[in-house]
Amino acid sequence: MGDSVTSVARRERTTDVDVDFALIGHQESWRAAADVLAVLRGPQHTPLPDDEIKDILPWIPPRAVCHVEIGSIGGTKARGLYIDSFIPPDRLEAAYVHENIARVRGAAAYAIKAGAKIVSLGGFSSILIEGNFDQLPERHDTVFTTGNTLTVGFIVQGIKKMCALEDRNLRRSTLLIVGATGDVGSGCARCLAPFVGRVLLSARNVERLRRLAAELEAHGVQVEIAIDLQRFSAEADLVICAASLASPSLLLGRITPHAIVCDAGYPKNLSPGAEMPDAKVFFGGLGQITGGMTFVPDFCGILNRHPFPDVVHGCLLEGMALALEARFEPFSQGRGFITPERVEEIEAIAARHGIYLAPFYNADDQWKTDLNARRNGREDECMGEGPSRTGFVDGWEDSGVASAGTVDPGERDR
């Protein structure tokens, strides 16, 4: 029952000796939270009933849930901790902001106490702390990064890759960014605006929208802004959803048939009720560690709930990549500082250690095919089963691309 004392001591020594990185996160659904608690409870105990989970989780103080070890294709390894802030999945709204900031601060304090050299802020953690880094506890030798630069990198790579798979011409595309004034949204705008025909920016704050539009227009980009998303959704054929939504509630309305839609939110932006039968929807901002990743205890597939192995959100991967690079610096901080040059820099660091764009998938597991698994060489490790929608898979195969999104390192070099 529980952990043996030997393992307690061993882990403590590990913590004392080296914690290269810490990842601060939270669960985006009660199902995910239940799975985490089930692992902690162990197979010898019956899983907690749902009502008990909702009663217990809000009281758990921020703390490490497991140890994480990652490998670089160059042979180096980095060790870290996953620290959960235990923000209840249904309390991400503004009404709970002070409580949630306290939780993230608590998680940050835990990371500092553990001696983490670099800390990545996952999901709402970065949104809560963004622009308020002075609110973090005294840091000693620990640095924090929001991880947003690598998230932007993977979103942009995903859009470009999907356009290639779908034989779309970026230059003739109209790009809509939902949540455009956020750190991720504005970073995507800066990176993609030079490559598309027209940019539509949507966000709640019109003043920030105007500032971003002016910045892009200064570089000769055709930009329009709107608070009313529905005005734009019928005009865009590329959509990036990067809004900070407490739950998947975004409805894009009259979306262009065959539009490419990247949902890069955590929690996801798109409502399960969003009807976009002909759109190509994929979850963006995700990367895959090809040098290996292990959890102790084994949270594989629980903390990284993706249908492919070793897939992680870009924001967390940024800290991991920097740890493998031994570059312990606050690479991403604040809002609105993500530039194409910085994205290129972090992508290069990630690629050096075998961290690439993740295979494409969406809520329907649309792209989880045998071909994808074989491409990754890890067929037996794929989690779960999901039906493929042959229509899209056919289209992708017709495009002549051998992989459903796993980036060929050779292609990167080009």
């Binding site: 008990e52 009663d55 009281w59 703390r63 490490a64 209840p88």
Partner: protein
């Protein structure tokens, strides 16, 4: 200690004592029982202390806990109820037996872990929650005694940290063993429903389903208590990921 993360009750004060007196009667009965048990534990502890200063300290604590019990009983009389107690009630009896096993083994550190880390976490957190919602003097009394109990914990933490530094593995092993024994019983006490029958402290039916009438809930008291326990273990230096596993494995 006030939980850093207070998430449930917003502290809606019950203004009518007459309607809720039977509920406070049972809450006070649990508190008086807990205080009397603590007094018995400290008296027992004094019997295995070698240092006269430690003996005096334990006896002073015992007197303090008896004083708390008397104060809670007096609060009951103020609202017109007679507050019972039953240190032989099944859960409390088991907690006492766990403590007495440490006494039998002359395990001073084990005694401190059971009383100061486990039982006091429960007392500090639950009294603080009750203190927020109980009306007038009753609430003030719970809040004041919660603060006093917290001072005990601070004192014990210094001793326990020093002990842990001598042999981390042995200390953590002891905490885990006592956790399985004591916290399992406490978790059953704190469960949302008393599935094992009457607790033998409430004067009538189980008070838990009625707690909402005074802006409390069994789930909230359990959550606050386990949160306090985890934080106290953090302060001792036990790895948070390990103690989290321990707590999630407790019965619900």
């Amino acid at each position: 200690m006030e939980p850093v993360i207070g998430v449930s009750s917003q502290g809606i004060e019950c203004t009518s004592l007459s309607c809720s007196a039977p509920i406070w009667q049972d809450i006070l009965a649990q508190a008086v029982t807990g205080e009397l048990l603590a007094a018995m534990n400290y008296t027992s502890l004094s019997e295995i202390c070698d240092d006269p200063a430690e003996v005096a300290d334990a006896l002073e604590h015992a007197a303090g806990e008896r004083g708390h019990a008397a104060t809670f009983a007096a609060e009951g009389r103020k609202i017109g109820v007679e507050v019972a107690n039953n240190v032989d009630a099944k859960h409390w009896k088991r907690l006492r037996e766990a403590f007495l096993r440490c006494i039998t083994e002359r395990d001073f550190i084990g005694c401190l872990i059971v009383q100061e880390i486990m039982l006091e976490s429960f007392a500090v957190a639950s009294y603080a929650r009750v203190g927020k919602v109980a009306p007038g003097g009753l609430g003030e009394t719970f809040a004041r005694i919660a603060a006093e109990e917290e001072e005990h914990v601070d004192h014990a933490l210094a001793i326990l940290r020093a002990e842990r530094a001598l042999d981390v593995q042995r200390f953590d092993d002891k905490v885990h063993r006592l956790h399985l024994e004591v916290m399992t019983t406490l978790a059953k006490m704190l469960a949302k429903e008393c599935k094992d029958g009457h607790c033998e402290v409430c004067h009538g039916n189980c008070v838990k389903p009625s707690l909402f009438e005074v802006s409390l809930s069994a789930a909230e008291l359990r959550g606050a208590s386990l949160q306090q326990y985890l934080k106290t273990l953090d302060m001792l230096g036990l790895p948070g990921e390990v103690t989290l596993g321990w707590v999630t494995q407790l019965p619900v």
